[in-house]
């Protein structure tokens, strides 16, 4: 008797030569849709919640101002004082005229502080702002 199993004569390997190409394609996709994480956030904050949210179309236009619980402010990679905002933002506006300033502020900061920031932004002609907020469910 013949106990040998019948097998097809074809190779039993999965071709893996195209796998790197597929992975590279994935890589390309991620490279195009994402932006580099370039700033370390040094302040701690909890964003307020809202419903009527809008998405910011282009991330490259956005410049952030962080305001922490302890009212420390951060632009780029360093802490700044209230008087410095105008100068910094004016330079940014010159470099990028369509700039959108995103204000990422803690929810318990008082409005006086926010108003002061807004006044500085107005003086720097950075008029498009966006109050960053989480979606309310």
């Amino acid at each position: 008797m013949n106990f040998k199993k019948k097998r097809a004569n074809t190779k039993e390997e999965i071709p893996t030569t195209a796998m790197p190409d597929i992975v590279f394609m994935l890589l390309m996709f991620f490279m195009t849709v994402t932006t580099m994480r370039d700033i370390d956030v040094l302040v701690s904050f909890k964003l307020p919640e809202a419903k009527a949210l809008e998405k910011i179309e282009s991330k490259r236009l956005v410049s952030y101002i962080w305001v922490g619980k302890d009212k420390r402010m951060q632009i780029n990679d360093s802490f700044i004082k209230m008087e410095e905002i105008e100068g910094i933002m004016y330079d940014k506006k010159q470099a990028l005229p369509e700039i959108i300033v995103s204000l990422r502020s803690d929810q318990n900061v008082d409005m006086g502080f926010i108003t002061d920031i807004q006044q500085a932004l107005r003086k720097a002609y950075c008029l498009r702002i966006n109050y960053s907020a989480m979606i309310k469910v």
């Binding site: 796998m19 204000l103 409005m111």
Partner: protein, 178 residues
């Protein structure tokens, strides 16, 4: 006679190429951000020094003044209401101005105290925006049978023309020494 030399097989091993590519992919996943920023957009008015400011009289029927004080109480045209009712108060008034010409549309003015907490201000602003958005949705439903977000650019601009979002931030009062 010269014997032809057997050429040894010359292949580059490509089995690990996929691993390398995965490593690169992981690196990009870690160093980049994919989250989309969401927030309430607003355009600030241009800065004009106090001496050069001119007062413009606005018809009171065009104007809704929303005042938020430090305790989070909201005052609209003399009535004290909770924050979440701002939307319903404003919606009817905004919608009633749909057929009027451009210079007669509703203006919502938002004013806060210096001691108002930020998240109360955000929820008030949120309510105002929601009111405008809902009026836009209702108008586009009526006219085009679709929600505002689903319209094409051309129709969007028509709706925007009919229901423009005009939110005015009141000029902050300078700090008074009392």
């Amino acid at each position: 006679m010269l014997k032809k030399k057997q050429i040894p097989e010359a292949t580059i091993p490509t089995a690990s190429q996929a691993d390398l590519a995965f490593l690169l992919l992981l690196f990009f996943l870690v160093t980049t951000t994919i989250d989309i920023d969401t927030g309430l957009g607003l355009t600030l008015p241009e800065y004009i020094p106090e001496e050069e400011q001119i007062e413009v009289k606005i018809d009171p029927s065009r104007m809704a003044a929303v005042l938020v004080n430090e305790n989070g109480d909201v005052l609209i045209d003399g009535n004290v209401i909770p924050v979440f009712q701002i939307k319903d108060m404003l919606k009817a008034r905004i919608a009633s101005k749909n057929d009027l010409p451009k210079n007669k549309k509703m203006i919502v003015s938002l004013k806060t105290d210096r001691k108002t907490v930020y998240h109360v201000y955000i929820s008030a602003l949120d309510q105002i925006k929601l009111a405008y958005f809902e009026v836009r949705d209702e108008y586009s439903n009526l006219k085009f049978g679709k929600k505002f977000a689903d319209l094409d650019e051309e129709k969007k601009s028509i709706v925007k023309e009919v229901v423009p979002i005009i939110i005015s931030l009141a000029e902050p009062e300078s700090i008074k020494n009392s």
